[in-house]
Structure formats: structure tokens, C-alpha cells
Point group: C2
Amino acid sequence: MSDGYNNRNGVTIWRKIAEYKPPRSWRSWLIGRPLQTADAPHQTISKVVGLAVFASDALSSTAYATQEMMVILAVAGTAAFGLVFPLSFAIVGLLAVITISYEQTIHAYPTGGGSYIVSRDNLGAIPAQVAAAALLADYVLTVAVSISSGVAQIVSAFESLFPYRVEIAVVLVLFIMVVNLRGLKESGSLFAIPTYFFLIMMFGTVILGLIKYFTGTLGTVVDPPELELTHAAQGITAFLILRAFSSGTAALTGIEAISDGIPAFKEPKSKNAGITLIWMATILAALLLGISFLAAHILAIPSETETVVSQLARTVHESRGIVYLATIAATMVILIMAANTSFADFPRLSAITAADGYLPRQFTYRGSRLVYSRGIMALALLACILIVIFNASVTRLIPLYAIGVFLSFTLSQAGMARRWHRVGTLQPGQEIKQRGSTLHFDPAWRFKMLVNGFGSVMTAIVLSVFAITKSADGAWVVIIIIPILVFTFSSIHKHYQHLAKDLSLDHFGPPPPIVRHRVILPIGGVHRGTVAALRYANTLSDDITAVHVSIDMQEAEKIHQKWETWGEGIRLVILESPYRLFLEPLLQYIEEIAAQRQPNEIITIVVPQFVPRNWLSNLLHTQTALQLRLALLFRKNIVVTDVPYHVD
Amino acid sequence: MSDGYNNRNGVTIWRKIAEYKPPRSWRSWLIGRPLQTADAPHQTISKVVGLAVFASDALSSTAYATQEMMVILAVAGTAAFGLVFPLSFAIVGLLAVITISYEQTIHAYPTGGGSYIVSRDNLGAIPAQVAAAALLADYVLTVAVSISSGVAQIVSAFESLFPYRVEIAVVLVLFIMVVNLRGLKESGSLFAIPTYFFLIMMFGTVILGLIKYFTGTLGTVVDPPELELTHAAQGITAFLILRAFSSGTAALTGIEAISDGIPAFKEPKSKNAGITLIWMATILAALLLGISFLAAHILAIPSETETVVSQLARTVHESRGIVYLATIAATMVILIMAANTSFADFPRLSAITAADGYLPRQFTYRGSRLVYSRGIMALALLACILIVIFNASVTRLIPLYAIGVFLSFTLSQAGMARRWHRVGTLQPGQEIKQRGSTLHFDPAWRFKMLVNGFGSVMTAIVLSVFAITKSADGAWVVIIIIPILVFTFSSIHKHYQHLAKDLSLDHFGPPPPIVRHRVILPIGGVHRGTVAALRYANTLSDDITAVHVSIDMQEAEKIHQKWETWGEGIRLVILESPYRLFLEPLLQYIEEIAAQRQPNEIITIVVPQFVPRNWLSNLLHTQTALQLRLALLFRKNIVVTDVPYHVD
């Protein structure tokens, strides 16, 4: 074949497309030149880099978890701050349970075992949708909370920026969005620097603080911020302690990140990922305990104007000098990195759920840089909305946070428990293939089922505690949104299934050919555009009727006379419009014609349409073709064609 | 002919349309049932009613003219308020000049001689456009100023409404809009009541005030509002006096209303209209002088929180009782009526200028109630924008006001002077027909030319004074907007002229018929929608090519196999899309086909399009047909047709 056509296995392929060079534009300046599908990167990362990539979300939550416990305890007076350290111990216990549970998931799902996939494979469609809704909501909150906390760190160091924190937060979100729209090819090594910088600065601060404490040289916060109470003062109650605990569980968000990202690790993938998970949990526990212990002893005060981390850093380092600033900068950067991980997770999960038909298919399309651009933009938009609504306040966002995480923990562990139960039915060597993984015989299934089952029950209890203690503070929003999301997912799924059925060619007889093709040509006047449309209509059919809607019969008479000259003998029907309407009489006439129609007859409305050179000029014309198209969209066997007439 | 067709003078008319009953809807609930064109009313009014209909705009300006002079004089201290009365005399002198000039216009233009028509007939296209721009801008300002002043009256009586004045003003504008969209058939008699109520209350107040003054029993304002200075304090300068005078000229707005409305009067129209004009001017002069005289003597203070009229009324009536409230209510209602006159003037002038091709043709269409709905809605929208921007403050709006009025006065009188000059060239019995009137021989042409010429020079001087003294306060906005409007008018005119030339069938040879009709059928998959589109394409041409844009060659292979079954032997071309784009490869292919095309060959792109029952479902599909249509809009001889496939 010639003309750039090519034949491969009998398929005609036009090859010139391969020479296509995407044009340079402001978009390519902003996010980089488009990438070909074949350019998709395939790289794997070591444990050290893996920790940096996946741990920022979990580790960064130590920047606000202690403070948010203190915000709750504050209503019982500053003496209650002593409870922060024991509460942190309880959270570390919970962390251990979740870590062990996820360690098992990582080995069972070597290709990635996020909560959605584990629930889908083991619990069914509805739990999977609940998990997806919970996770998507939480990814949005991760961005909002992390960025708000990051901005709170900046504001702690530079008080004068306090009035601009919403603006700064929104700009940061948009910046991360653009970075992610570019695609993060070199992400691994780039990520390692800030994560380890944070670990060095934060461990440095905590260890120095502990040394000073044990040597008795640790002071208290100089000139602490004023205590702002979010609730009326009260005594220490069990409910208050549980509320503080619930706030502290924000520290556990981000633990599941590694279970999503197993394929990114070097071989043996599962083993490396599992070890990284345990490192991460250990570091997280150490930091949380250290910060909580010291915060109570330096008499830090939770505040919107200065973070507890900032108070700790300037008390330990005894100044607002360079080491203090470096600690704050490290904390801010790790929080931005945490938000960035959601920009990987949210688009991927929305693409997976969209591929399963629960979200619009558009989420599965990869943009010019091979990233799921729509998911990235949706996340940025939603996070910005949250930041604006909640005024970039971590304390106001926290009650919405973590509930989704614990819901997905519970479902994920329950799914794993169910999975081990099915493994228990297998004989040695036998296998069951699921969509996300394969079930192999495992003699230890009973023990593993107990571990995941215990994890599920524990996280379910925390979930309940959270829902009860935080509902009044805003958690009810999430409790309402998750069912709404699940309902939306189901509706979308139903739509796609119906569509597939309606479009299916199985058991479909070829339709009889069209026996009559009527053309209706609405004309506003007789001019070159009308003549062009008539010329086109002539190629469609011999059965043409021109129609003119008249609000002035003298004008109609003139048009009729002109049509005698230019109408090529085609019948012109005048529709009188006493109410000066244009569309309605025309529609009424078309309906009448359509009602008389025989089977296998089709009607085409050919509308002459001016196309002025300048699009602004369109304001000077009525958009007849567009209005007709919208009005006739739901009528069967009527096609609207506009014949453009170009005016220079 | 049968089937409801009818034949009149060889024109085929479909009669069923006459039976069309417009559906009842929320629109007909709001603005009334649609009216047939034949229902247009034709009524004429007496001088007493005519005064009520046309005078509200002019008379109502006495409600703020005195106050706005005082606002300016305030910077020289309250002693400067003594200048208000002499300044009012100067304004009355100007009023006399303008009234005499317009009296001549009324007799020369018995069918209506607004500034636009007089300028168009006697000065040419550009001065006419300047007059139209000035008048349209001023109609918008009349609504904004009158409503803001009306709200200021309400706020004077009910202080607690002060924070809601913008909202109240916007609601009032929308209310007047709806009333005008309904059409004001019984306007005449309805208008008489509030106008005469205002005259009684205001003359009552002024006369009672004068009696008290001359009997020495007139007190001063009890508990006057605080003086707010808009500028730094200074002495009395000539410039300050001229600025105060400029503000006071707001009293002269609305004088030209009668010259637009002559045809509404009973016969002899011109005479009756002229007498009404003189009545109106006399009343206006009396009220302005009376209010200014008393305002200075009761030591009223100009203020945003209480109007001078309110201070005058409560001082004269010595309480905030029922007579005071009736005076305020009458003032408020006349101000709303003044705004209402703009809702007659603006749509009419925009329809006239649109018919002349200076505004979009849509302004000439009459809505379901036979009024120029688009003009009415445009005016309401623009006035609301002004009210919001200027916070419903008369003082902030005044510098923008009146400049347009004086520009149109100047042009109108200059046009009249030019007209008398041409009349001077006529012999007895000779006539010249213009578009808006007829020129007759008149022996007094020299005197009349001098009268209008003097009016033109005087108003031009006032215009210059206004522009110089008010530029810094905001008049520059109008000075910029009027040329922009004129440029827009000219551009629109040019567009319509070019279009008419491009569409003209004069010297146009009939185009040769189309010799080849190629059809391109883009398909995303092979399903019932594709089959339906193919069935339609078959009726258009034998020359069909199906095209599939592939981002996944395995998928393309499957589509190719299905096409073997369902494609009726039609060639399928696969376009590989390495950058995962859909539209661009397709466009590139179409461009290539179009480039090879012979003369008189046309290409139709037939796009299968899902039409889901529920429009929200459209979010779940890419709008290919729409995107293709937009992309190909500017390509000649390419038609895009979407074949709807209805999914239930």
C-alpha cells in the first residue's frame, strides 16, 4: 500500500501518525514535552530509597500527632498534658498490631495489596467500594492536613506570614500538582534527601532533648503561645482521653503506603518491602514517643500560631538560630513530601477503580506525561477546597482525618483474615487465582488468620472510638460522604454495565437498511450560506423540504420570491410564528413530519451555519444549529447536521 | 393542499402553527403568558398622565441634587452651604436654556427626536454613535443612582436597614426588571398616582417650610448626622464651586425623556408634548430652588446615613411621624419610577441602534410579552453591577452621572442647529425627507438656529466643566467607556456589513454541484452505536472509510476482527497514537484526506454519539463529536454529523 498506509496482519495502519510531533505550548513549558507510551519508566528502588519514598506520609504525622492530642487535653488544664506520653504508648501498641498485619499482606500480595484490592478479592464489591471511598477521602485529607501543618511550621518561624497561610497552602498544593503533572521520574533519589534530612534533624532534636532532660538541663518553653480552648474547660474524663487518643491516631496514617508500592522494590520485592515497613514503624514509634515525652516536659502549649515541634526545637536548641530553622525547614519539607505521596496514591487508586467501572473512565487515561493527569488535578482541587473551607487549620481538619484510614485498615485486615480462611481449605500444591494475587497452600494459615483477624478487630474498635468521640467535631462529614461516594460508585458501575449491554452486538441482528432519507432545510433567508447548505443537502437525498419560520409575512413573501430563483425547484414551507418564537414552530413541524414517518426512514435537519473568522462575532448571531441539536438530541432517527459557511 | 398546508400567493404555509399554545412554565408565571405579535397595544395619553409618565426621572433628581452639591461644599465647612441656593439658580438658568431648545426639537421631530435620531439625521454616523453610547451609559446610571437614592430614603427612615442597602437596591432593580419583562400596558394611569403623590408631599413640605421660615418658626435639624468629608478640608475656590455646580447638574437628567416619547401623546402630539415639557421644567425649578433654600436654612448635613430630604421633612414636620414617613415614601417611590423610565428608554434605544446594525441584532427581538427583553435584562444586569461596585452610594455614583446626559444634550442641540441651517436653504413649500423627520420651509429658521446653537454651546461648556472638575472623582471612567462603546458599535456595524456582502447573491453564480462525497467514520469500538452510524453513513455515500485511533494495538486488533463481521466490507484504517491523544491523529488524518481532495468534493465526518437518558451521565463519556466539531469548524467543505445512539 502507498500513501503512508501499512498493512500488518491484514490491518490497515496509517503510518504518518508516527511522525507526529506534539506542538510546543504553554502546557509543555509548564509540565514538559509529551511522552510516548513506550517511554514509560521501569525502575526499582532499594530499601533505603524505598523508606524515603514511602515513609514520608507516616513519619511526617509525628509533626502534628502530639500537638493534636494536646489540643484536646487542654480543656482539662495544662496538667492533663502529662497524659500525652502514655497515650503515645497506646498508639505505638496499635502501630505494632497494624505493622504485623500489613507485613503479612505484603507477602500475600507481591504485586501490590492496597485496601481496595484486598477487599475486592476477598470481601466483594461493596466492601471494596467502601475501602476505595475511605481511601480516596483520606488521600485528599492527607494533602490538606500535611500542607496545613507544613504551613503552620513556616508560620511558627515567620509569624508575619500567619494571615497568608491559606494562600501559601493553596500555592503549595498547586506547585505539587504541577510537579506531579510533569511526572516524577527521578523521584527515588530526590526523595531520599529531604526524608533523611528530616530524620537527622528530628532525631537530633529528640536525642539532644533527652540528654538535656536526663542531665537536668532541659528548660521550658520561653514565651509560649497563649492557650486557645476549642471547647469549654472540663475535668479529665474517659471520653476526653479517648478523644485525645483518636486525635493521636493521625500518627498512623500512611502506614499502608508500602503495601501499595511493593512492585517498586528491588527483588526479593516482598521481603525488602516488609523489612522497610518494619524500619518505618520503628522510626515512627521512636519519634512519636520522643516528641510526646519532651513536649510534656518543656510545658509546650498547642497553638495555631506556633507548632509544638517549633516550641520543642527552640527549647532544645535554646534559640531561634540556624539549627532551629533547619529543624523547622526539614519538618516543613517532609510534610510537603507527605502530601506528594497522596499525589501518587490518589490518581493510581482512582485509575484502578475507574478501570473497574466505579469512576468515570477518563480517570484511566494517562496524560501527555504518562501520569493520570485527571486524578492529579481532581486531588489538587479537592484539597484546595478543604484548605479554604477549614482555613488551613490542622486542628479543624483532624476530626475528618484518620477515620477513612481506620476504615480501610479494618477492611483490609478483615479481607486478609478471610483470605487465610480460604487458604486453609487448600491442599499442599493447590492454588486459587484471584484478580490481585494467587492463594497458595500455607500450613501457618491459622496463625496468620488470627494475626490479621486481631488487627481487624483492633482497628475496628479504634474506628468506633473515633466515630463516637469525633462525630461532633466534624467526623460526621466523612461518615456521610463515604456512603454517598459508595452510592455514586455503584451508580456509575450500573451505568457502564447497562451501556455495555445496550451496545453489545451479541444476539443483535443487523438492522435493515434505511429506505427513505428526508432532509429538512431550515432557512432564515436566501443567501450564499443557504445555497451552500442546499448544495450539501442535494448530496444526501432527493427528498428535501426548505422551511422558513416567519414572524413577518412581508419578509416571508420576499424570501419566497428569492427562493423561486435559487431554490432549484425545492418546496419551501413557511411556518408562521405569532409568538415570535423560532425554535418551537420548527420543532413542531419536525415532530409532525417524524410522526408520519415509515419504519427505516431517517430525517436529517441540514442547518446553514455562519462561521465568522473571529469567534467573538458569534455573539452577534443566534446559535440555531446548536439549539436545534440540543432540542432534538433525545428524538430517535433524527440527525442534525450543520453546514458551515465561512465568512471572511 | 391537505395536511394543514395552505397556499397564499403561491407560498406554502403550514397552518397548524397557528394552533400553537405556548406551554405554561415558571417563566409565564413570573412574567405572564406570551402575547401574539398582533396583540401590541396602541394607546395615547393626556398631558396630565404624560407628565406623570415622563417627568419622574427629571423630578426625582431633586431628591439628591441639593445633597450632592452640599457634599462637595462640605470641604469648605458648613458655612459654604449658603452657596447651594445661588448654585441652584444657576442650574435653573441652564434648565431654561435646555427646555427651550428641546421645545423646538419636539416640534421638529413629531415621531420622536431622541439625541441619537437627531444626531444621526443631522450630524452623521459617528456623532450618532457617540450620542447612543452616552445615552445608554446614562440610562444605566439613572437606574443605579435613582435606586441608590431611593434606598437611601428608606435607610433614612429605618436606620437598621443601612447594612443591607446593596441587597435592597439589587432586589429593587430585579423587581423593576420583572415588571418590565411583563410589559407595562396600563403604565399611564398607574404612573400618575405616585408622581402626583410625590408632587403633593414635596410641594407640601417645601411650602410649609417656606411659611415657617418667613414666620420665623422654622427650626434647625435636630440631632443631625455627622459630617463625613470625602476630601480634605479646604477653602472656597472657584474650582470647588464649579465642582458643586457639576454635581447639581444631576437635576437636569431626564429632561430629554419627553422628546423621545412624543408619539405617546394625544393629538396635537407635538403641542401637548411641548406644553408638558414646560410644566415639567417649571415644577423641577420650583422644587430644586425650594429644597436648596430650605436645606441651607435648617442647617442640614449631607450624609450617607440620612438624606437631606429626610432631614428637611422631619424638621419641617417637626417629627418622624406619619407625614414625614409619607414624604419619604413618596420620594422613594418617585425614585423607583425614575429607574423604571430607563427600563423603557434603554431597551428602545438599544433596539433602534441594533436595527441600524450597531448592536447585536438580538436586541431588536421582542420577547414573549412583546417587550425588548434582552435590553431590559442587559440594563438590569449592568445597573446591579454598578450598584455593587459603588456600594449603592449616590455620592460615589454622581461623578459618573450627567456627563453622558450633557454630551447627548450638546449633540442633540448641535444637530438641531445644523438642521435649521439646512432649513434655511429651502424655498417655501420645498421639503427634504430625513430618516427621522421631514424638513419644511420655516421663515424663523435663523432664530431657531440661534436658540439651539446657544443651547448646544451652553451644554458643551457645562460638559467641559463637568469633565474637568469630576475627572478625578470617577468621571474618567465614562470618558474612557464612551469611546470604547463607539468603537464597539463601529466594529459590530462593520461585521454586519461585511456579512451582508459575503452572503449577497448579487453577481453570484450558482456553485457547481458536489461531485464526490467522502465519508469518514471514526469509531472507538464496534458496537450497536457504530452499526447505527454506519447504516446512516451508507445513505450519504458509497465512499466510506472507518477510522480507529489506537493507543493499544492489541485492542485495535480485536476491533479489526469485529469489524470484519460488522463492517459491511468497508475499509478500516488504524491510526496509532503514541502520545495517547485521540483528536490530534484523527485531525491529522482528516487534513491529509482534505489536502488530496479535488474541487467540488466534500467530506462528512459521521461520529457515532451515545445519548444517555440522564444528562449527568454525559460526564462519564468523552464528547468526541463536540470536540471534533469545534476543531473542524474553520475548515472549509468539511461537515461533522453526529448520529445519536440512544441508550436507555
